[in-house]
């Protein structure tokens, strides 16, 4: 910038200097030449008087050095010359000033010397006798004048150049300083020369744009961070060296890992190691690992993005519930097929014996009874499974209605009367007029199953008590017996399908092993809670707490 300024200033200076020189030389030279002629003419007049009076004698003793005086005859012959001998001089007939003077009485002219360094001015006048008197003087020509002025011109140019450098520096510094000192945060608050205002306005606009974009980005970043941090699955990203770049809260909770850890630092499970190694090779893979009895499924995949810093992405989700649900489903299927198979084999065997005539006619009723019993058992089982699957699906056709629990308890006692009487077990009902909202057949089934179990697993001459009470915000239904009780370790399992506490006696006591499972599902349907208390050889109490009708 400074350089450009220097150039510009210098250019202007040089041009100005040249113009000035040309102008001054032109005008002044003209002026001085005219002045010279004027003086020559005056001088000529004085000399003329002298010559007219004294003739040639006038020149004797005349001592004039500035001018050259020549006296010329009318035929051009030189009579006298103050600087040279008149004999050697040529005829002046052809001289311009001479011719002019002869014609009009006065003439003047100027001639350059051969070298052009000097210029001679001539002024001539015709005397009364016809001869011509001429006075001349020499002055420097324009060129030699310029030549003699070269040095001062050069010095002036040099000074001008130096000054232009100094000024250019100072000006550019003055122009740049405020730009360098602009407060970019708040451009409009700057106090600068007005040429900078458009720049400041643009900076301000740009600032606002940047701020808006930054706000936008920060907001987006915040949202993404929030989602990643609070998602219920663990997320870890690894760089190409296997070091953790980022991990969210859940991942840190599972692995207690942190940024910069090597991927094996926090988990050294072999399956996990292989899965991550596979991911590094570019193949996405999954593995299931068990940490402190919680099962996690880990998806390891490569990020094929342009971002080369991240190379593997781990997604860790807790699949404990799914795993156990799957395990239960597998077990249920196995159990169902087994339970269905047992009575069917008995039926098939008995029928085959009769068909082949191996059974004597007298024994046929025995086998028929067996077939009947097993078929009934099979039917019960299938009915129970259907009930369970209906409860499982939850789309029961019946509506929720107000139910008087006492009525149901009474009808359950009626239907179990025969079974209880054969074992001399009493069923007592302690009931207020509690009502709940529910599906009648399901509630009936639940209470029936509980009482049935209470009788089946009771001792001879035992007792069953059904107790219904309305508490603060719920209705409690308790079925307690004085039976054999349940082992503590068995209690968590009694609601599982086909779970039998005493597996060897299952056939003897009958039942399908699905009773309590139905109770549990029924309770879930009614948003009720089940609790079990039991003591070996003392008895069991199962309590269901229904929500109270509001």
């Amino acid at each position: 910038m400074t350089e450009k300024m220097i150039k510009a200033i210098t250019k202007v200076l040089v041009i100005a200097l040249l113009f000035t020189i040309v102008l001054i030389l032109g005008v002044l030279y003209e002026h001085f030449t005219n002045e010279q002629f004027f003086q020559l003419r005056n001088q000529l007049q004085v000399i003329e008087k002298g010559v007219v009076l004294d003739g040639k004698d006038f020149f004797d003793g005349l001592n004039i050095n500035e001018y050259r005086i020549t006296w010329i005859e009318s035929d051009g012959e030189v009579i006298y010359d103050s600087k040279a001998s008149s004999d050697t001089m040529e005829n002046h007939m052809e001289r311009e000033e001479f011719k002019e003077a002869l014609e009009s009485g006065y003439g003047q002219s100027s001639r350059n010397s051969v070298t052009l360094s000097e210029k001679t001015l001539y002024s001539a006048k015709r005397l009364p006798d016809g001869s011509v008197l001429r006075v001349s003087t020499t002055q420097l020509s324009v060129i030699s004048l310029v030549m003699s002025m070269l040095r001062p011109i050069f010095i002036i140019a040099l000074v001008a150049l130096i000054l232009s450098v100094v000024f250019a520096r100072r000006v550019s510094k003055k122009a740049i300083e405020p730009i360098n000192n602009i407060n970019l945060e708040d451009p409009l608050s700057n106090d600068v020369y007005e040429e900078l205002s458009p720049l400041l306005l643009r900076i301000d606009k740009q600032n606002q744009k940047i701020k808006a974009q930054m706000d936008d980005l920060t907001q987006k970043n915040k949202e993404i961070t929030y989602v990643i941090e609070n998602v219920s699955d663990g997320i870890i990203t690894l760089d190409k060296n296997g070091k953790v770049i980022m991990s969210n809260k859940k991942a840190e909770e599972i692995f207690s890992c942190s940024e910069g850890n090597y991927y094996l630092d926090f988990c050294r499970n072999l399956d996990y190691k292989f899965a991550v190694e596979e991911a590094f090779k570019g193949n996405s893979s999954t593995c299931v690992i068990n940490i402190d009895n919680i099962v996690y499924k880990i998806y390891a995949s490569t990020t094929k993005s342009e971002n080369e810093d991240i190379s593997v992405f781990l997604f860790i989700s807790d699949v404990t519930d799914e795993e156990s649900a799957q395990k239960m489903r597998r077990e249920f299927t196995a159990n169902v097929s087994h339970e269905l198979k047992t009575p069917l084999s008995t039926i098939l065997g008995s029928a085959e014996l009769i068909e082949n005539g191996i059974v004597k006619p007298a024994e046929i009723p025995y086998f028929a009874k067996k077939i009947h019993e097993e078929a009934a058992r099979l039917l019960n089982l299938i009915q129970d499974i259907i009930k369970l699957s209906r409860l499982d699906e939850g789309n029961l056709t019946s509506e929720f209605v107000d139910i008087e629990l006492f009525d149901i308890c009474k009808s359950v006692r009626e239907s179990l009367l025969e079974k209880s009487e054969t074992r001399e077990i009493s069923i007592d009902i302690i009931c207020d007029n509690s009502k709940i909202k529910g599906i009648k057949p399901v509630i009936n089934e639940m209470i029936y199953n509980l009482c049935d179990n209470a009788i089946t697993y009771n001792k001879e001459k035992g007792k069953v008590v059904i107790e219904v009470k309305t508490l603060d915000d719920k209705v409690s239904l308790k079925v307690s017996d004085t039976g054999i009780g349940i082992e503590k370790s068995d209690i968590p399992h009694i609601f599982e399908r086909f779970y039998r506490v005493d597996k060897s006696r299952s056939k003897e006591t009958g039942g399908t092993g699905l009773g309590l499972s139905i109770v549990k599902h029924g309770a879930e349907l009614h948003k009720a809670k089940i609790s079990v208390e039991s003591e070996i050889d003392k008895g069991t109490t199962i309590e269901i707490q229904f929500p109270k009708i509001m």
Binding site: G242, R268, K273
Partner: protein, 214 residues
């Protein structure tokens, strides 16, 4: 220069962690094969052992290269020399794990009759190996010290197992081969615990600069 050295050290550390993870799994699989009689685990354990051997060679070369090229001093030298010692112990654990895995085929179902204590011994040895690797990964001085102290428990369990076997030998009805197998497994486990102790000692050395002399 130092930057490159740091990166090499971190690579060495990662390789050691990897080898530790392999070793930990080798012994875990071997013990499960032995206790649960699952021969699939035994096969896997032997496979893992060969991987451990390869890893040992790799780390050994890496350490030697570091020693020659970088001529480390003080703490760096300690880290590299302890790494060299540690891989020997880790490799021995891997070997013994695969030995156990091979013997496991012949002791399926019989070990609990021979000595009820060997299961606990196996579990404790696995825990010791796990903790020693853990102490290395986390540079945990306390954990390393607890591993060293734990060795006494495994030693006393070995003594108990030995007593069980002596009792059994006194009775007439004995299965000689199975008894010898179980005794050997017990001995392997005891050696594994010793190697785990060594690892813990080298971890302590790399942290504190002092190695426990016996």
């Amino acid at each position: 220069m130092r930057n490159r050295f740091d990166r090499q050290l971190s690579e060495l550390n990662n390789n050691l962690t990897e080898m530790g993870a392999l070793c930990e799994n080798a012994i875990y699989l071997a013990v499960r094969a032995f206790i649960e009689g699952e021969l699939e685990f035994a096969k896997k354990s032997v496979e893992v052992d060969s991987e451990i051997d390869e890893k040992e060679k790799e780390i050994e070369q890496q350490c030697l290269r570091l020693l020659l090229q970088q001529q480390p001093v003080a703490r760096d030298l300690r880290i590299i020399s302890s790494a060299l010692k540690m891989i020997t112990d880790i490799e021995r654990i891997g070997d013994q794990a695969s030995d156990i895995a091979e013997l496991a085929q012949y002791t399926v179902g019989t070990y609990s009759m021979i000595s009820p204590h060997i299961k606990k011994m196996a579990e404790e040895s696995v825990k010791m190996v796990k903790d020693s690797i853990d102490s290395f990964v986390k540079r945990d001085q306390k954990l390393a010290e607890s591993v060293i102290a734990y060795d006494d428990i495994v030693d006393s369990l070995f003594y108990t197992v030995k007593c069980d076997i002596i009792e059994l030998l006194k009775s007439e009805n004995t299965n000689g081969e199975a008894i010898i197998d179980v005794l050997m497994i017990a001995k392997y486990l005891e050696r594994i615990a010793d190697h785990a102790t060594n690892i813990a000692e080298w971890v302590l050395f790399s942290i504190t600069g002092k190695h426990k002399e016996e």
